[in-house]
């Protein structure tokens, strides 16, 4: 069974069809790429999957269950989490706190017991912090765990977003332009890091990216959107040579 399945997912904003009958399937463990020119509807697709928008028509299935129209926090608790194109950390919190907060779903203790600071709370807090440190290690931010997250460099903030998303223990991780604004060296590190966390945590990854070299070297399966429509789907090599894709990016040959 596929992990995530979009069936003719469509969303219209007034007269604009931002995503038009897009269908694709992601298998467990895949590194899946979603590409397309600006305004193709990639981030809208993410918003549909994570429950920010409800599709006008069509279906979205996660582990065989329909999730379209479910509130974002419920979808997160089912195991889909994401990062953002423009960084949206909880800025005045420390790096560690950002990650611990995202583990909210898994906190068991009640408000009363946490006010009373019972031993169970202390134990749980320690466990959550230990887990968060593990995640920070995976994105090599463990050495800045107690730094205020707003003070991190851009590349580090991007990695923290990934760690924070990981803290919800997702089965499917959505990365919205994770390499945006990174220099070549940082991109290369990110490539290795994404592969690593997939191995280490048994994740499936769906990512949006503009950097073709990055996508082609990382993803096993790629979907191409243009003007809200799906124009191609396949492995990196197929996509590279697809005339429709080339036309979408470079324009029709004169």
């Amino acid at each position: 069974m596929s992990l995530l399945q979009l069936k003719e997912a469509t969303i219209r904003f007034g007269g604009l069809t931002a995503v038009n009958a897009v269908s694709f399937e992601i298998q467990p463990g895949q590194l899946f790429g979603l590409i397309g020119p600006n305004g193709a509807g990639k981030t809208t697709c993410f918003n549909l999957i994570t429950g920010v928008y409800k599709p006008t028509s069509g279906d979205i299935l996660f582990e065989g269950q329909p999730i379209a129209g479910t509130p974002p926090n419920k979808i997160a608790s089912r195991g889909i989490c994401r990062t953002f194109q423009n960084i949206r950390l909880f800025k005045s919190m420390s790096v560690l706190e950002n990650v611990v907060t995202a583990g909210f779903l898994r906190h068991k203790t009640s408000l009363l017991s946490s006010l009373l600071y019972t031993p169970a709370v202390i134990k749980e807090t320690k466990e959550l912090e230990a887990e968060a440190m593990q995640l920070l290690k995976a994105v090599s931010l463990d050495h800045v765990a107690h730094v205020c997250s707003a003070d991190l460099s851009y590349g580090m903030q991007r990695r923290l977003e990934i760690a924070r998303a990981m803290a919800t223990q997702p089965k499917l991780l959505l990365l919205d332009e994770p390499a945006a604004g990174m220099n070549p060296q940082e991109k290369q590190d990110l490539n290795g890091m994404v592969r690593n966390i997939r191995e280490q945590f048994g994740l499936t990854v769906l990512l949006i990216e503009h950097d073709m070299r990055f996508v082609m070297s990382l993803c096993e399966q790629i979907v191409v959107l243009d003007h809200g429509e799906e124009i191609a789907q396949g492995g990196p090599d197929e996509i590279r040579n697809d005339p429709k894709v080339i036309a979408a990016y470079l324009g029709e040959p004169a």
């Binding site: 989490c81 950390l89 005045s92 408000l111």
Partner: protein, 381 residues
């Protein structure tokens, strides 16, 4: 220390500052509700003052339900009544706050913010004027339960503890006795017999005592009613609890996450609706506690449907002063407002103290637009 302006007595300064500080704690308690709601929803909850007003009514009704206490002072075994009243106010306000959020603000969450703002103003007016139909007006808890009776007196500057109120009282009694003597004996005030001279000299001595106490500053005495001390201690405890809750519990952390980024928090699995409700609950509970304390411990506090107006506005100013959305800022702003009022009263401008509070606000906002502890946001482009 600057020289006191003519007619201003240095000796009354400490008392005014202490009173101002106590009042400031109450402002802070209410300001917390404004600032927390603004933090998560970016909404000024103008109905917060009216939640405060309802809290005072909850305390009033509870005091009625607990029974009249004829001797005007709370007996030793009756302190539990205050606790019951406090809890009743907090619970009543908490429920009201959550109801307002659920039925007035939540349906408008995704509408332009101005819609919620106008709803808030409307709700405030609805409670103020609608309440007049159902609620008893011009009530006073003070006449039923008055723990404000009795006070700590503290001597300053090495002098003996002198309660100027008592001195004034004595003076009045002596003067009355002298008047009464004159009336009774129809004696000539310029040609008194021994009895008359004795009574007159007693009255003069009382006058001297009072004058000395005020003049020398040696007799500077703080009079702090027990009730206000209780109020201050309770407020400090509530604030400590709140700080702990917001900083160290999962719900507090989730609250801060929601206030940073509503959507991102939701996508990280935080149920924002429950967090928003919780925020309203907390803010309203604090307002409820403040309302009970003002209604009970401030002699002469008249409870009517406009009870929340002055306190609501002042607390809002305090929240803005400290930097709205900032919790320590609300406390700082509240204390500053209270102290300013005390200082202004000391200078003899009691009638203008509300105006001065706003002048302070304007000056602070001119110098630091984000408030004292707030940071002015710079939009990145």
């Amino acid at each position: 220390m600057f020289l006191p302006i003519g007619g201003v007595e240095l000796s009354t300064l400490p008392q005014q500052l202490v009173d101002g500080l106590l009042l400031g704690f109450i402002y802070a308690l209410i300001a917390l509700g404004y600032t927390m709601v603004y933090g998560v929803l970016k909404l000024i909850n103008f109905a917060h003052g009216e939640v405060f007003m309802i809290g005072a009514y909850c305390a009033l009704f509870t005091s009625w339900a607990l029974g009249y206490i004829p001797n005007n002072t709370l007996g030793a075994g009756q302190w539990w009544m205050l606790i019951v009243m406090l809890v009743a106010s907090m619970v009543g306000c908490g429920l009201l706050g959550m109801t307002i959020e659920r039925f007035a603000y939540r349906p408008l969450r995704n509408q332009p913010r101005i819609a919620s703002l106008i709803t808030a103003i409307g709700l405030s007016l609805l409670l103020q004027y609608g309440g007049q139909i159902f609620l008893p007006l011009n009530q006073n808890i003070d006449s039923k339960i008055n723990p404000a009776a009795g006070a700590f007196t503290i001597a300053l500057g090495g002098g003996k503890a002198v309660d100027t109120a008592t001195l004034k009282n004595t003076l009045q009694q002596k003067q009355a006795a002298f008047d009464e003597y004159l009336k009774r004996t129809k004696a000539d005030p310029f040609n008194l017999d021994a009895d008359g001279k004795k009574i007159r000299s007693e009255a003069q001595a009382a006058e001297r005592d009072l004058k000395n106490a005020a003049d020398t500053g040696k007799g500077t005495t703080l009079v702090i009613p027990y009730g206000k001390v209780i109020a201050m201690i309770a407020t400090i405890f509530l604030m400590m609890g709140l700080t702990y809750l917001v900083m160290y519990t999962k719900r507090g952390r989730a609250m801060r996450a929601v206030s940073h980024d509503f959507d991102a928090a939701s996508l990280m699995g935080i149920n924002v609706n429950s967090i928003v409700t919780f925020t309203f609950l907390l803010g309203s509970v604090m307002a409820g506690a403040g309302a009970m304390m003002v209604a009970t411990f401030y002699a002469g506090a008249k409870i009517d449907t406009f009870f929340g107006m002055v306190f609501g506005v002042k607390a809002f100013v305090a929240a803005v002063l400290g930097g709205i959305g900032n919790i320590p800022g609300a406390v700082l702003g509240g204390l500053l407002m209270g102290l300013t009022e005390g200082l202004v009263s000391w200078l003899g401008f009691t009638a203008y103290k509300d105006a001065v509070a706003f002048v302070v606000l304007i000056v602070v906002l001119l110098l630091r637009p984000g408030g004292l502890l707030g940071s002015a946001k710079v939009e990145k482009v």
